[in-house]
Symmetry: C2
Subunit: 192 residues, 2 copies
DNA sequence: AGGCGAAAAGTCAGTGACTGACAATAGGAG
DNA sequence: CTCCTATTGTCAGTCACTGACTTTTCGCCT
């Protein structure tokens, strides 16, 4: 009994999230998820490459947005500034997706295999940024270094953002990149 | 027919490497590896949590060495300097293990699932460094940022080291951390 | 309206990673 | 030589994932 078209994908994700909440990720079978979505296990694996992927459906606009933002940065800008700007441009998208990403994060954080996948996704984005930087003429190895360091700052900024949403992501990013830069200078009070 | 003791582990690793070279990682079965090592598949999974782990047997001294190096750094040193020093202290260990790690890297690089695991291992080391920094009084989020940025520099340095082994790892590390610091300043020629 | 073609779903059978439970055995301590 | 224990073998089973093939549905064209 075939169904409409793409909302099968959404139903699978919803069913998965429900079942992961009721039982847990490991105790939930791909077949069970498929069944709740009114679909066969085989269909599950036609929509998602593997069971984990159901929790990692990123916004289709994310990668193009990052690439474009890096490409659009002004000539002569420092790599880190370019990447900071690219991250800042994601703010609306991140806000819009928040209700979807929020519940998934809990599930992911509770499972080593899912954490592993999350890191792989982050690494993939890092590679994307490095490539975008290279296309601006930045030497490959240097681009990789900048992308990784920037991702570290981004991670720091998003964490701060969750703790204090009163400030914009852009503000948190500014502080994160500034903090990162200061990390190499020998002036720091150990206490607090 | 039970065997000696721990060299079963080494035999399994050796057998795996051979079979991965002959066929490839995916086409090699855990049972095949076990058979070549003169052991049962069940025994394979008693020595390694999963099939991938056979390629990720890190030096048992690695983690203690990093933790100790961070703890032993002089008071008041900047986080990045502390971490750079910790990495530099690994040079002898990395040199000694090179013959073992070299062949594995090829296999790992050819397989997405293995790359994923490699990233997870790196993330685990990053977390270790962050914790070690925290124990020196560095604020948790800041420690995480420093650890990630430092790992980026370490990765850059080891890549450079492989390209130019005439310089010491310490020298490459110095340059990497310096480059990282300079990445935030707006002076860079796009050409070359 | 009726029928057609491709996209999407179902069915079936199979492989391989991994696990729990239990029996068998080697190696060392006494 | 015997007992004790760590390690391995054996067996049966679950589940993620895949290939090959059939069936259904949807959108379109006549």
């Amino acid at each position: 009994m075939p169904r409409n078209r793409d909302d099968v994908r959404a139903r699978l994700q919803q069913a998965g999230l429900e079942l992961f909440a009721e039982h847990c990720y490991d105790a939930t079978t791909a077949a069970e998820i498929a069944a709740r979505a009114g679909v066969t296990e085989r269909t599950f694996f036609r929509h998602f490459a593997d069971k984990r992927e159901i929790l990692f459906d990123e916004d289709p606009g994310l990668r193009p947005a990052l690439t474009a933002a890096v490409a659009a940065a002004p000539q002569g800008a420092a790599p880190m500034a370019i990447l900071a700007g690219a991250f800042a441009s994601l703010e609306p998208m991140l806000l819009a997706n928040r209700p979807f990403t929020e519940p998934r994060i809990q599930v992911i954080a509770a499972n080593p295999a899912l954490i592993e996948r999350a890191e792989a996704k982050a690494a993939s984005l890092t590679a994307l940024l490095a490539t975008a930087l290279q296309q601006r003429g930045v030497e490959p190895k240097l681009a990789g270094l900048a992308a990784r360091a920037a991702m570290a700052a981004f991670s720091y900024a998003t964490t701060s953002w969750r703790e204090d949403p009163s400030l914009s992501l852009a503000a948190h990013l500014d502080r994160a990149f500034q903090t990162l830069h200061g990390l190499s200078s020998p002036n720091l009070e150990p206490g607090s």
